[in-house]
């Protein structure tokens, strides 16, 4: 893969071209349709947009690895909610209150550990039972949601810690804390997928699991680690989001998995595994957030966002089909 042919360039550039088109459309259409005077391309607006993409983005980046692996994780929304509950609830435990502000890093650790444990449970089941990840995580989506409800019934879990809120709303070099987390995650995962053995194995397993086994890759532990990783990232996303909002509703994060998968697919990652890129997923996340914000900016009903994103997803699939029409699996009827 040292030389990129033109088709690859088209595929990798597509999401960025789409983002550029969105930017152009919304800033021009905004001139005529927007009620507000502010420019859509205003740097403040763009920074806010990045900040708002962080919670979904961090999960979608992890989902990319799972999907390159040829698996899927439908339980990330529930993991997100449970990690949020642990984060906020642990701050009010008696021994934590004695610690003052030192309780915060500890609460983060508890939340992240929760995510890693939930991910490990999924990964172990996938590895040891050989049941498809789709089914394992579908069931876990219900099970983990049950754990969320167990914590506090249908009541929200709230804990406003102003140190925490200040941290989450802080800006370093003009960029918000959640954005730094998103960018940091993207860099680390990009390095992981392009520069390490683990990353290479992830592609190999997704491309052809049997060949990977024959090549001596230990597929089981590899899959387990990836599920631990996405559990960790779902919890990290919760840490970033709930530190600021200070309140978890037991239904929070529902359908998050589907939005994350949408972002990953928009970025061009293949459901069948073996192909995909972290950076393109970042593009997919930004494209979705742009659409949400842009439609609001030009005064469209927020309800149309769902409609538009759904249709775009299908359009991407049709386009992709045409770009990839290369004999292999085609059997036209």
């Amino acid at each position: 893969m040292t030389t990129l042919n033109s088709k690859d360039l088209v595929k990798r550039g597509a999401i960025w071209a789409f983002i550029a088109a969105e930017l152009a459309f919304f800033s021009i259409a905004g001139q005529f349709l927007s009620g507000s005077d502010s420019n859509f391309l205003d740097p403040g607006n763009m920074l806010l947009l990045l900040k708002q993409s962080a919670p979904l983005g961090i999960i979608a980046l992890g989902m990319t690895i799972i999907m390159i692996n040829g698996n899927i994780d439908l339980s990330v929304g529930a993991t997100f909610a449970l990690a949020g509950v642990v984060l906020l609830d642990s701050l009010s435990w008696p021994f934590m209150e004695d610690l003052g502000d030192w309780a915060i890093p500890l609460a983060w650790m508890f939340a992240l550990l929760t995510g890693m444990v939930l991910g490990a449970i999924n990964g172990l089941i996938v590895w040891k039972t050989g049941v498809d990840a789709f089914i394992v995580t579908l069931a876990a989506m219900l099970g983990y949601r049950g754990l969320v409800f167990m914590y506090n019934g249908e009541q929200p879990t709230s804990n406003m810690n102003w140190t925490l809120v200040d941290f989450a709303e802080a800006q370093f070099l003009g960029v918000h804390t959640p954005t730094w987390f998103l960018l940091g995650t993207a860099v680390v995962l990009w390095l992981l997928m392009t520069r390490t053995v683990h990353g290479r194995n992830a592609y190999a397993i997704g491309d052809n699991r049997e060949a990977a086994v024959n090549a001596g890759i230990r597929v089981g532990p590899h899959i387990l680690w990836n599920f631990v990783l996405i559990g960790f990232l779902a919890a990290l996303s919760a840490v970033v989001f709930f530190s600021e909002s200070g309140s978890v509703n037991p239904n929070d994060g529902m359908l998050f998995e589907l939005w994350a998968i949408t972002a990953v697919v928009l970025g061009g990652t293949k459901l069948a595994g073996g192909y995909g890129s972290i950076i393109s997923t970042l593009g997919g996340v930004i494209a979705i957030q742009l659409l949400r914000k842009g439609l609001g900016h030009i005064g469209a009903d927020t309800q149309t966002v769902n409609l538009v994103i759904g249709l775009i997803l299908i359009a991407v699939l049709i386009l992709d089909r045409h770009l990839n029409r290369k004999g292999k699996e085609e059997l036209k009827i």
Partner: protein, 324 residues
Amino acid sequence: MTGMTRKDVGTFIAKQGILIAFVIFMIGFAMANQRFIQIDNISGVIRSSAILGVMALGVTFVVIGGNLDLSVGSMMSFSTIVVLDLHDKIGPALAIPAMFALTLALGAFIGLLVGYLRLNSLIVTLGMLSAIHGLTLTWSGGKNMDIENKATTWFWFFGQDRILNIPVPILIFAVLAVVLGLLLAKTPFGRKVYAVGGNDQAATFSGIPRARVVFMTYIISAFCVATAGLLQASRSMGSQNNVGQGMELEVLAAVILGGASLMGGAGTVFKTVIGVLILGFIQNGLLLMGMDFYVRYMVTWAIIILAVWLDVAAKRGRLWSPIA
């Protein structure tokens, strides 16, 4: 039983695991609480499972055909909202067929994309989940829908009436289950659905029109969703925009619990009904035992994984996965 080796017993348990589990659960719940096996309780459980069940019947066809349908939940919200809205505008006699037509059109669109254009069903229906939700919100303007004059309409019949003392939702669920069960098990079309789901290419080479068969499975699914929307609307006579949200995955859970393989080619309508009933009775049994409502989520989690695990284990002949 002398002729059976240990392995035979294992295979038998694994194959009939779902029925065995069902029986054990029923006996356990019945011993724990007498109320559980009373007729009115049983009929109550089946009635409240009917909406999920009707949707699961349709999804069974899609899954056996080797595809997925994640859009049924949001499509059910759409049907419910549309029929409630049209009820006040053109009357129930016209609103119901109009709603069925619109829902079937959505199903046809999905069938076109997945069947004829051969797009990935997971992503198409994921996109449709979102798109139809948007459509519903646009239709209702984001507001809840309510029937204005609840006293004078006969619309409540489908969700609330009884015939021969049997609740109508149960009757509809039962009739649909029998009809679709026969369609799947006893007709050439049914055999084609299995063939397409089992081996796409082989089916094509033996002259089965794959595209048309897949298209039809989505039409059947949409028909079931429309029926479920009708039951929902008629039961509550008013609805929020997201009444079916999240049901797509519960429906899928019931279908998988019934033993349909996500790879396609396996499953039956009868087993899906069992899957639906297991979910319903477990929910009810746990509540009667005084458990909190969330316990059922965790029990469902364990049951789905155990059920599929046993199934997979029976097929490969060993309990643990051979993955290194």
